[in-house]
Symmetry: D2
Subunit: 377 residues, 4 copies
Amino acid sequence: MTRLNWGMFGGGEGSQIGPAHRLGAQADGNFVLAAGALDVDAEKGKAYAQSLGVIADRAYANWQDMLEGEKNHPDRLDLITVATPNSTHFEITKAFLEAGFNVLCEKPMTMTVDQGEEIVRVAKASGKICAVNYCYSAYPMVRQMRQMVAGGEIGKVRLIVTNFSHGHHGDATDADNPRVRWRYDPAMAGVSGQFADCGIHALHMASFIAGDEVRSLSADFASTIDSRVLEDDAMVNFRMEGGTVGRLWSSSVAIGRQHGFDIQVFGETGGMRWASEQPNQVFYTPVGGRTQIMEKGESGLSDEATRLSRVAIAHPEGFPLAVANIYVDLAAAIRGEQRDGLPLAEDGLRSMAAVYAAVDSAVQDGKWVDARPPSFR
Amino acid sequence: MTRLNWGMFGGGEGSQIGPAHRLGAQADGNFVLAAGALDVDAEKGKAYAQSLGVIADRAYANWQDMLEGEKNHPDRLDLITVATPNSTHFEITKAFLEAGFNVLCEKPMTMTVDQGEEIVRVAKASGKICAVNYCYSAYPMVRQMRQMVAGGEIGKVRLIVTNFSHGHHGDATDADNPRVRWRYDPAMAGVSGQFADCGIHALHMASFIAGDEVRSLSADFASTIDSRVLEDDAMVNFRMEGGTVGRLWSSSVAIGRQHGFDIQVFGETGGMRWASEQPNQVFYTPVGGRTQIMEKGESGLSDEATRLSRVAIAHPEGFPLAVANIYVDLAAAIRGEQRDGLPLAEDGLRSMAAVYAAVDSAVQDGKWVDARPPSFR
Amino acid sequence: MTRLNWGMFGGGEGSQIGPAHRLGAQADGNFVLAAGALDVDAEKGKAYAQSLGVIADRAYANWQDMLEGEKNHPDRLDLITVATPNSTHFEITKAFLEAGFNVLCEKPMTMTVDQGEEIVRVAKASGKICAVNYCYSAYPMVRQMRQMVAGGEIGKVRLIVTNFSHGHHGDATDADNPRVRWRYDPAMAGVSGQFADCGIHALHMASFIAGDEVRSLSADFASTIDSRVLEDDAMVNFRMEGGTVGRLWSSSVAIGRQHGFDIQVFGETGGMRWASEQPNQVFYTPVGGRTQIMEKGESGLSDEATRLSRVAIAHPEGFPLAVANIYVDLAAAIRGEQRDGLPLAEDGLRSMAAVYAAVDSAVQDGKWVDARPPSFR
Amino acid sequence: MTRLNWGMFGGGEGSQIGPAHRLGAQADGNFVLAAGALDVDAEKGKAYAQSLGVIADRAYANWQDMLEGEKNHPDRLDLITVATPNSTHFEITKAFLEAGFNVLCEKPMTMTVDQGEEIVRVAKASGKICAVNYCYSAYPMVRQMRQMVAGGEIGKVRLIVTNFSHGHHGDATDADNPRVRWRYDPAMAGVSGQFADCGIHALHMASFIAGDEVRSLSADFASTIDSRVLEDDAMVNFRMEGGTVGRLWSSSVAIGRQHGFDIQVFGETGGMRWASEQPNQVFYTPVGGRTQIMEKGESGLSDEATRLSRVAIAHPEGFPLAVANIYVDLAAAIRGEQRDGLPLAEDGLRSMAAVYAAVDSAVQDGKWVDARPPSFR
């Protein structure tokens, strides 16, 4: 199997997201880093790219140069990853799709709903893959839940309750730390703080597992630290197209929670729960029966759960390999195989529509609003 | 220490609540069951009372007879417990308060807000104790949290997130079981199902730990099983007088959750969480520090946590002894000691006001409404 | 149902064990404290007994006086509990059995194997009940495991692994604290420290659940704090009559463990585990299947598990109610019902034989020795 | 940073261990698979190697051919990994060390103590790295424990209790399955079954964390399934050079345990515990204080724990990345940096000595025996 050529934007030296993507792309031997524009400081970025094995010609100063250099390159890139600051995702993603590249974009895919609609249109027109990095959906046991729902194993889904709450922004004395502050500043973060940052992962996962989409929502936002304009705590109630009731809590001031992303899915004939801090188990309860601990790697799991696990039962696989699973699916899709689980531009668009809907609802004291992108109504 | 005379309404043979109260009253040797009207079937009730050691003269056919027989009894009852069906709590409680008895009433104290206001007035006029059985608040580690908040150990409380959700009514094929059905039938349960049944425990605890009261709320109710009129799933957002943000989820269709009552309290300088299924621990995290596991019985706990624990660290104490702690405090209060933690008629009234407010909000699509009883506005 | 008359030795004001027994005896309304010699300080003991409702005539200065006063009392005691210091258990228990009383003796029942043999003989001759307070065996879910084994639900038991380890004696700077020191001083504690104190609970439970007895053992003892003569850490391997392999670790220097008593039982067709700090669940795994969480109070549990639980599923019941379950069974047995689960003098004797065997093995570098009392070989 | 050339033996298509090593070597971009002899079926192995990107010339039929082809190769291999069946480890490792290659050998490094001594001698003479894949020791939080012990944070280590027990060989009806049977057959597995397979990981970790070595041990082995010659359950008590007491239980018939490798380390001033199924936390308790949950990625961890973690706090990292950490350290060592944590040939030798000592002890009913290799006595 030939390795695929991969290019990257952002993820320069010292960034957190860069290593996660590089590990994700390389871990299973699918991709080779062939080109990159890794840093806002052009020279630093070029040097760093070369230190990672990129040849000098393909170590670029910025995305525009890279587009120029790569669009007609004989050893064409099979995939580019966009991991630059949020506000730049749209233009880079759009430009490379239009130039005929497959793209994996970090979330949020865009800053507005219109931009999201535009990406969806461009992706469709290009015939290329535009994936968005909702990587939690690539954990084997999340795929297991999705396939159990699809297979009717818990009946119609009545209720989904999901939380993505941490406490790492709970220290008011640290609130002016630039690494924290920008998230609550509309000039940098856009219309939403915590919900746009973490909540949309949870909302995506609700849809992903349920195999259904959010239709309407009602939001209650709070800024519990005075200096913040945007919310650091959000509660969103929602309804899905099929009637499923949803409850989503996302906070960054929940001191003591590390990375409390969890989801509970309750159907007519069973319930399931999963938590990102112990991602290799699902607690499944058939109605009237006992809770069973399902383990990644156990025999009889769904084909997706089995395919995306690398080591035997009870050898935990963690977050970086969930990211790697996105790349596994991308490699397969690029090679022409069907991959149903990949989060795509439509998902990125729906997230953005939900963010704007939640903001709209919150300023109207929780009024129920349509959560769908205009084009999906 | 002389034992106190105790009388009981309801809790007849085969009931669940009867044994919990008898154990609670007797466990620490404070009370002796001296009188009772235990069953709607008068003869069965009288026989059962006698089997429990009540003399024949004080085994009554109904509460009216008991009132008549006891009001001038020379060996007067020190406390009566009302554990009859919900719709009868008001009249029995009122009558016995007016006759000068101390009362412990099961929740809900009343069926309407007006009745609640009436009980508060009557209790005040009588000078007697009217307690309501919010027994979870009497767990040692819940008292610990309350005293930590009062002592400023987590700073101002920003956020409370609490859940009281189970899955025991999640089986649609069992929904017509009379033991389940009445809870969702307005003719029997009143205006609210799951929120009135379980949610108010969580709401009381939020106030109890925060040392603050709920001012306003917004509710989203759902009846996930078609035949139900009242809600089996409720989400309530609230704000306390001091600005604390609150989130409360209560469900009876959360298949796989047994009795998932838990609470998380997040302040400026720390967070805490407690769960009723593992009630002897509190997970406490100072801001910027590690999560610490606090154990019931460890040295250095607050005086209330220490006083209400009976056995050494890591010997678990459970639900029946939380009920017993209510009786411990009642005995002390009857003997003239000050007991701050006892849930009283005002708490029962506030719960009823919150139930009506939540219903009012839910039918108006989550409009924010005042959650306070009229007399407390 | 008439209450039974109960007397107590030891458990004076401020003791830990006294409240646990009083709660245990009173919680379910079976016993009334009618007589007692509660304190080594005769006057304090008499005053305290009266404060607990004992009439002056039956509040005694010591056990000899109580024997004299009670042996021909018209309102005879149905049960006496021996909760005095360990070295006195033998003589009090023997004297009262000989006088025709039913006895519940705290563990260890005796200080030597010969004394244990003597108690077994005396109990048999008297026709009275001589129970020993292995109270952990009375948790509902422990009874559940015992009945599952008896019913063949996990096949022949291959292996039992049990731990009873805590860290409360791990502070060398506190080792001279009299409350700690005596446990490691042969003059006060006898031949064994931690194994005799905690280990025998675990060994009893292994036999209790397996329905089998320990035949031989090999021990490794360590005194990890220099000033100690007796062991503060013990590992005991054993074999049961039916061939089951056993492993038992008991430590008092395991800093961070609170009260880590747990047991794992592995059979041909399934495994189970239970822990005393979360006593209302059993984790059960059928061979080839998933682990299931069994909950106290769920439908379909064994009759013993159901009978000894008081409140609904997921309302935890703790240590004091396990003690109370011993009294529930004693009351039933006194009233002439059959109760298979009560730990009796034979169990107390077996424990003492195992303690001496372990000491004998430990001083011979882990030589395998017979663990049975002479009369049971 | 130039990538290092890496070669592999074993790990052919469909093997479990191959993907773990390839991911481990590639994940952080340190190594490129440049040569290999991957399968006992020469043609299959060569084809598979090429599918993984190895050029045809360096895809070999067997290790002898590879030695021939690589020993004078201009683009010399920086590291070879030996992941063939256990009985071949010795000869391949020895041959490649002698030819001047760095080697990572799967455990067990050899089948006898003499072979182990030989490898240690050869490695020393060669000046090359001979590492052994005790990969659990490369988890960030295991390194954290090691550095805390080294830094005196829990004082002198008194006691280590470790378990590596699972239930995957607990089904007697599956005991003749060839994938299971060979492990209990001396002709294939050597002198020990479960202890040699899993127990030595735990024993290595005890030494690794304590910074001390095992001096003597006493073992109790059991074959709980009749058809087995070698043990499927082992208890090993040990003493370290510095006096630390050790207890190690390893079982493969513990039905319900998935991969229960855990370790508890108790010192004079604190205790710690870690479990491989939740590897990103350490529970640490200072003497007299509360248990604290230490999280991978939290600020203030030791330099090793920080260096070997890739993503932020509470993003779990799992088993494949522990393997990858071995490769991270190998890459560094190959590049001339000092890496203290790498498990080396001496560790492999000590394990083999401990296996033979345990077997020797077990057949002598638990006699205490020297556990050290002859050359280390």
